[in-house]
Assembly symmetry: C2
Homo-oligomer: 553 residues x 2
């Protein structure tokens, strides 16, 4: 057992079957080891693509891995890994590095940044834990330390492996790391506070649970749903936590986005006299740029990052994991358990294409709504692709992946690689939504979709530039070079791609593309400049004011 084996063995024990990366001379030996292992190496076009793929994989599977070379490879991961840190996605970065013996004597080696620890210090800022594997004696414990911290915090980790250390022997066999320790008994203090909170919510007339992204990251969805059904509490989710729970469930109110979202959801959330904001850090893009109107005495916030704040006193030791653990074991309400709300959830409205009518964002979403099924994973790029996707109504088993806080353009195409790679469903079909600006940033990863025959459908919302920015402040800088998306897809190896402008063409293209079994397909949708989603229209005033506060006030 040497360091490279130990690392691969640890990943196998954690159920990792695919990793993402780009080779380079400092990591070539490790690529060769992966090649000889049961783990499949998915080689992306660039390192940023590997990072976003690993992020999506991590969100679905609980651990995603990007393998890159030193310096020029690892630094390109800082953007996706910072996003994974912010959005609590456990991405493991494995970076090759100059050999320990090469670095002796302070030789100037290519790809070296500044000091020998500069790269690791960068990753310290955006990781739960980092380590350098240069000793057989400590490698196993370092690997376990990093993986454990990643699991505990649901955040990225970093391992640096000098290229001459792969074969350093380990003095003892690698301890198993697969089984996480069982959850500890709730502390008496947690127990008391959790019960207090339960009584309070049960005593409310109009309780609502607003459930956020942390519940997804810590795998609490099933516990939450069971509880909501037991108590009969309606729930809403945020944009970045979309599809956390079945959006067609009778208790589902929909997506809450402050003033930017549907008025009906807003009334029910803001009108609640017992609102539990659970695992949802209140960030700008989830709250319609802070346009929520809540009354402190009606609200309790429970989250990982900041503990619990409550008008009746701060209970800062409670977090969503502990809260749900206490509640799960609490007895059902002695009398008068609330009946399930009778709100019948209709399925998505049927899409009847109107001949000769140009497609709008709203109608595109209508059309897609009909085609989504349990095999679909929606992957939405930031900008209006994401805002528009808010109106998709996802069934139970369908996942939704978005970069809803970090908001890095170019996320969706590479993330769809990881959505395929990390899904436990062999029939998974990623549905990628992105704008033409994002497409220009990330089109090279179409090559990866083609190379591995990934059955993604890529839908480009082409409004001729950065459509999210135009309503804020427009200028030639919001234009992008017009690109032939169809020719591009074919050049990268796609077998089917189509440009559509009218509703009947869209309907036909969706049927054709979704029936395609032979790798990825693409539809480029021609939209009018200025045609935006309802959410973006509602946000525009708030967004523009932040760009030019002096000019407007």
């Amino acid at each position: 057992m040497d360091i490279a084996n130990a690392l691969i063995e640890a990943l196998l024990q954690r159920g990792v079957r695919r990793v993402y990366g780009v080779p380079g001379d400092y990591v070539l030996g490790l690529f060769d080891r992966f090649e000889q292992s049961p783990i499949e190496m998915i080689c992306t076009a660039g390192e940023e693509g590997a990072g976003f793929a690993a992020d999506a994989h991590a969100r679905l599977h609980g651990l995603g891995v990007a393998v890159v070379t030193y310096g020029v490879g690892a630094l390109k991961l800082l953007n996706p890994v910072a996003g994974a840190y912010a959005e609590r996605s456990p991405v493991l970065v494995i970076s090759g590095a100059p050999g320990v013996r090469e670095s002796d004597g302070h030789a100037l080696l290519h790809h070296s940044i500044r000091a020998s620890d500069t790269q690791q210090r960068f990753f310290n800022e955006v990781c739960a834990e980092t380590a350098r594997l240069d000793s057989g004696r400590t490698a196993a414990s370092e690997i376990i330390k990093v993986l454990a911290a990643m699991e505990r915090e649901s955040r990225p980790g970093y391992l640096e492996l000098p290229r001459d250390c792969l074969t350093r022997p380990l003095p003892w066999p690698l301890p198993p790391v697969a089984n996480a320790a069982p959850a500890p008994e709730p502390a008496p203090l947690h127990l008391q506070r959790g019960e207090e909170l339960l009584s309070w919510l049960r005593s409310r007339q109009r309780p609502v649970v607003l459930a956020g992204i942390e519940l997804h990251r810590f795998g609490l969805q099933a516990d939450l749903l069971q509880l909501l059904e037991r108590e009969g509490w309606p729930f809403a989710t945020s944009l970045s936590a979309k599809s956390l729970l079945n959006e067609r469930h009778p208790l589902c109110l929909g997506l809450y986005e402050g003033a930017a979202g549907p008025e009906k959801v807003r009334e029910q959330v803001e009108g609640s006299d017992g609102l539990l904001i659970l695992g949802m850090p209140l960030q700008d893009l989830d709250t319609g740029i802070f346009t929520m109107h809540l009354e402190a005495e009606h609200v309790v916030r429970v989250e990982m990052a900041e503990g619990l704040r409550w008008s009746q006193g701060d209970l800062d030791s409670l977090d969503p994991v502990a809260l749900l653990q206490v509640w799960k074991e609490a007895p059902s309400a002695s009398a008068g358990s609330r009946a399930l709300a009778a709100r019948a959830q209709s399925g998505p409205a049927p899409f009847e294409p109107l001949p000769g009518v140009a497609i709008t964002v709203r109608r595109l979403i209508n059309a897609l709504n009909q085609r989504i099924n349990a095999d679909t994973v929606v992957v939405a790029d930031p900008g209006d692709a994401l805002f528009a996707a808010a109106d998709l109504r996802l069934p139970e088993a369908s996942d939704f992946l978005a970069c809803g806080y970090w908001a890095s353009l170019g996320f969706a195409i590479p993330a769809s690689i990881g959505a395929w790679g990390g899904s436990s469903n062999p029939k998974v079909k990623p549905l990628v939504l992105l704008g033409d600006g994002s497409f220009l940033m990330s089109a090279n990863e179409l090559a990866t979709l083609a190379r591995y025959h990934i059955p993604a459908l890529v839908v480009v919302l082409d409004n001729g530039g950065y459509g999210t920015e135009r309503p804020m402040l427009d200028g030639p800088f919001n234009d992008v070079q017009p690109v032939d998306h169809i020719a591009l897809a074919y050049a990268y190896g796609f077998k089917a791609a189509q440009r559509v402008q009218f509703e009947e063409d869209l309907a036909l293209a969706l049927t054709t593309m979704l029936a395609n079994e032979d790798g990825p397909t693409l539809i480029s949708v021609e939209l009018k400049q200025g045609d935006v989603s309802d959410v973006l229209r509602n946000l525009t005033a708030a967004l523009a004011k932040r760009i030019q506060p002096e000019a407007k006030s």
Copy 2:
């Protein structure tokens, strides 16, 4: 005068006429200001592209500027900026940031990394100086401080501008920053040591100057050439400093690359009894992976980073700037000034295409050698494109840009944007050389070449994968998805592109493409797998040994 005006004014005073960037909501107001200024904003496909473009611009012009949004924009610049730090290119990063008033109360704002200063601390590691422009009172001095440090060290700088601070007024007019202070008189200690060194070199039988990249970055080429001609000393350069001086000059020995380069140059450099290694940090890729054989008593090293080391004692206070200043003013040798070496430099051998013969790397370089003229700027991507380019013979006014130490694949296409944007020659014609792996990483910036009608010729050396890595350790990870380069170029807006396999097709394509006046063109050259440059062939053994030291020993 407000902060945005002051910033633009400072750039104008420094002669900046083009900047590179990608908009985003935290920087949109500043883009609008640039739009209203005499400075042209070149909008690239992605932020990494803006970074490499600014790097190339900086190498030609002395200052290059990349303007990006916070977080998702700025972090994508860390790779190119780390390269600019390592290779001493003065790239100024201007990053938008959340408004000061928005950040009050620690609101969670999209694109935020961790702490509010995390991004600036990242850039502290790879910049000569950084500053945050959030006060009208200090903005002017902060801008000057950063620009001055960049000029002094020839390294990147960073300015962070919160989006609500653009209009903060400055209490005094911006002091002029255009004229750098005149060089100070050499310190007496420098004077003495410089003269000592001059006498020593004059006393040698076979003096040689090995001139490196720092001479380019500190603009010392003219001084150096004058001195070499006065003393009659022959010179060689390194790969990363290629074309520092006219490669067709009678005193030019060629490119020295240790055991990887031409034997004749090696003999002359290593056989010298007075070798001055000037402004050339001894890094692996410039030295044939440290395969130079030098005798300490015959060698003097003078460089910015590490001072001077000499067998007769360390003169650590001397650097190339000070040395050339002393030597410039030194009297000519009293007697027997060495006659100019009579080495007649032949021009490049004519390229006569052989019909039906498949193109090789060596013949491709032959063919290109004939087409290079004073308007050419060669931009070579790392890997075999760079190693092969070592054999180009550049005339006096021709520039050569490469990422010769940082070695980030994907450098060349975006760098050609900056080579065009930063050149003082309106007829400049970038010649881009890159492999198909690099092409896959950076093809999106073809859109930028097309958008701004940049007359670059992009030559793809297509050997079906990462050809530099195959000789080290091969596997499926060195394959890349086969891509139709020609269709891709057209899809991005090129008007001319051609695939060639045989010599006569190449000759014809070069004639057609170089005659094209209407924007960029592309030639994709089909090469056999395993056909590599002489340099790479010579390096292979040394490189492979570092990948698998145990396996081979």
